[in-house]
Symmetry: C2
Subunit: 261 residues, 2 copies
Amino acid sequence: MITLAALQMKSESGDVAANLARIEAAAKEAATKGASLLMTPELGITGYGGGEVVSGLAEPADGPIVQRLKAISSETGVAIIAGFAERDGEAVYNSAVYVDGDAAPVVYRKSHLYGDYERDLFAAAEPATHLFKHRGVTCGMLICYDVEFPENVRRLAQAGADAVLVPTALPAGWSGTFIADHMIQTRAFENQVFVAYINHCGSDERFSFAGLSRIAAPDGNLLASGGPRDEALMLVKIDPAAFNISKAENTYLSDLNRYAR
Amino acid sequence: MITLAALQMKSESGDVAANLARIEAAAKEAATKGASLLMTPELGITGYGGGEVVSGLAEPADGPIVQRLKAISSETGVAIIAGFAERDGEAVYNSAVYVDGDAAPVVYRKSHLYGDYERDLFAAAEPATHLFKHRGVTCGMLICYDVEFPENVRRLAQAGADAVLVPTALPAGWSGTFIADHMIQTRAFENQVFVAYINHCGSDERFSFAGLSRIAAPDGNLLASGGPRDEALMLVKIDPAAFNISKAENTYLSDLNRYAR
């Protein structure tokens, strides 16, 4: 059982130092509230909508951004999931990193890019399953549009994830509201996993964000929700064992194995 | 564009004649209201909860039940989807049949059986994709628990279905309410197809049913909902062309092809 802190965040577009400072402040607050893990949105460190400013801020996964996150994590004792533009040779990925003090970071690269905006800036990664244990809870990451494809959440659940952690940058509008109001809980329920879907709020030069972050339990219940406009630090208990009854009653994963041919 | 009539139905357990009469009355009402297709629940002709009474009423797909449905369809001009226990040699399947007057019926056999109750009575069929055109609309069928697996709806959508028609027998309770309130719309939205999920109401000797039938449009909006208790004949327009904007904005199927490897 862990306490997860999730920051629905207003990033400063293109201002890495300001966003790292905001994450540091949230990590300190999370620590005082007993959380061991802080989640932040997709590309929260660079901002989402800056276009070539974002890809221009790309760094390798052992660069200064991740080094700074490791230092914040070591100072506060809080592990951090944060989104950044990752350079690997000529390629730039839309990535999220899990850092836990001095341990080796875990990097997930977005596989399902959304629209021409993202496809112009980033390379699409192969769908990947990088599970990690955080204080006994098996976690996997996806980014934004990835979670809208049931195949991606299924893949992580079948590999053994208890929780699927999803930094996002969801624009305001009908589709965004639908995803927040129906799809995230469905992804949790149909796989009997936790799904934390943590968004930006406010707007940048290109996008107006929906807020409406969601943390859903394996039984489909919401554990926390962000509002449509403001920043929020949500704190929830992630206790897989508390949902053993739901998992025994909703046997999707074992029935999938039973019937899939 | 068609008008679909969907009957949230209180079946009489084990009373085939009464249930066929109820379906006949609904088909006549549907005809007066301009519908060309009538949907009814899972095992609506035999009742759902009668145990071995249900499997004991199994008939081949060219037996008297389907003959009677064809006669009702011919009389009324309304095609019918109805659930029955289907015998094929030694095997008994939980099946749904589409009849349209004298045309050859289309039979779909449930692939994902729910729990020991169903597995004791029925054989699980191979997951199958039997699409048919109804007045220009490409339709596929699933039954109840099948639709809770995103893989099954995806398979039909990728094969070209405009509408996925799902007779069901959903019990009352938390999971049932969750499925009705979140999952059916998510299945529609994530595939940009219509999903009609038509349930029993009332109770039989084993089960108390949730009602809460749902017909969702490709953009995730609900077109019709049944209440929790009573019978209801819902009438909706199924017009795939009316959702071309939603399909252009929510490109899940083409993006799945783009990124799946």
